[in-house]
Amino acid sequence: MHKHHPIHCIVPPHMLKEIAANGTESQKKLALETITSSAQLRAERLKMAEFRTEFASAIFKATTGGKERIVYDAKNGSSLPGTLVRKEGDAPVADVGVNEAYDGSGTTYDLYNEIYQRNSIDANGMRLDSTVHYQKGYDNAFWDGKQMVYGDGDEDQPVSDRLFNRFTIAIDIIGHELTHGVTQFEAKLTYFQQPGALNESMSDVFGSLVKQYQLQQTASQADWIIGAGLFTSNVNGVGIRSMKAPGTAYNDPVLGKDPQPAHMKDYVNTISDNGGVHINSGIPNHAFYLTAVEIGGNAWEKAGQIWYLTLRDKLTSSSKFQDCATQTYQVAGSLFGAGSLEQQAVKNGWAGVGLNVEAPTEPGGGCLAALLRLLGLGK
């Protein structure tokens, strides 16, 4: 226990030194004792503060830390999340779907974290929860606002009738679902008509980028197919959507033909599918593809950065395709310079799907105009 003398708490160290040097003998003794014990106390306080900081940091890491994944098994039921089967750091299990959900969400986390400096879905280390084996014969995957959910396809049908494999089979589907989470925390694009189709397109864009990032493929090497491997061999198709050539992913006697347009002139007006969110997403999907290929190299680097910042900072819940075109163009200008090749590629990408981007006409007109105005030389 420390004996607290009033001097400990009141007299500042520099004054104690003066007393120790110039005071009476008893004053000197007391001051010296105080200096010593105060120094010890300060050291202890410092240690305590350091401990507190470390402790707080550990707590922070546990709750909002880095990559943290959990995979649950719904065991063919509908209750979510189901039974925990693999958590962060656990070794792979025998169930391939569990491992795919775990690895795919990990690669998605890595792309967002390493390339876009985003710590998980909410930018604050949110844990990535997935449930596999949802229901029986559930040929779908979705994001329920809190977690990813994957069905096993139509495993309940005879092999000769099966059209879908398990939905964790394609890593871009995992990236797609997680990006719905990112959109939920950022632009909050309403899931209806054009904002909904943009929401879907953002999920396809970053889903495809997760796959390209994993395979380390350049824009020209990538297949730009969403859901490759999801169809069984009974289906005439390469995947669910093609960003390179929307409308060509499948053409099958049972499933029909891929309905995606690649151009505004073919925009589909429908009330089905929340106003065609999975149909008209072909248009912004193709704009991204055209942009990425024109820029060249790894699509996640420049084109991906432009789209990511647009999703994070520019789009709102009611944004439409034209807004996305304008905003990506402006973001490209800010990142790479007005008139840069990258900005030109964005403009050409949108022009390729029938959306024109004009440079801003209001006073402002770019850096040069602003500089001239500042110098008193501009209008």
Binding site: S78, Q135, W143, D144, G145, I173, N199, S272
Partner: protein, 106 residues
Amino acid sequence: MDVERIKFERTGGFAGMRIAADFELSDLPEEQAHTLAELLDDLDFAELPEQLLSDSSMSDQFSYTITVETEKWKHTIVTGDSSAPEKMQELLQMLNQIARKQARKH
């Protein structure tokens, strides 16, 4: 209730593919027809609200429209994966299966 006819439509989902079924209960195998009638009875289908939707995210979820006709009444409801009550999941799975079978026949 003596269910005569059921119309079912599933839209949306990750793949955005529509499937639908329109059938008389008498067209189904007896056991399946019986199970379906029981499920509808358990749900008190005629009394369900027309919109069984929640505020949760709809991202890639299926949207279901079900119409049931009897001699006395006809009732349509719309619901989704997360918003459908637990009790309805078995009905949805059965209707999905019927619709997929019909799609494969055509």
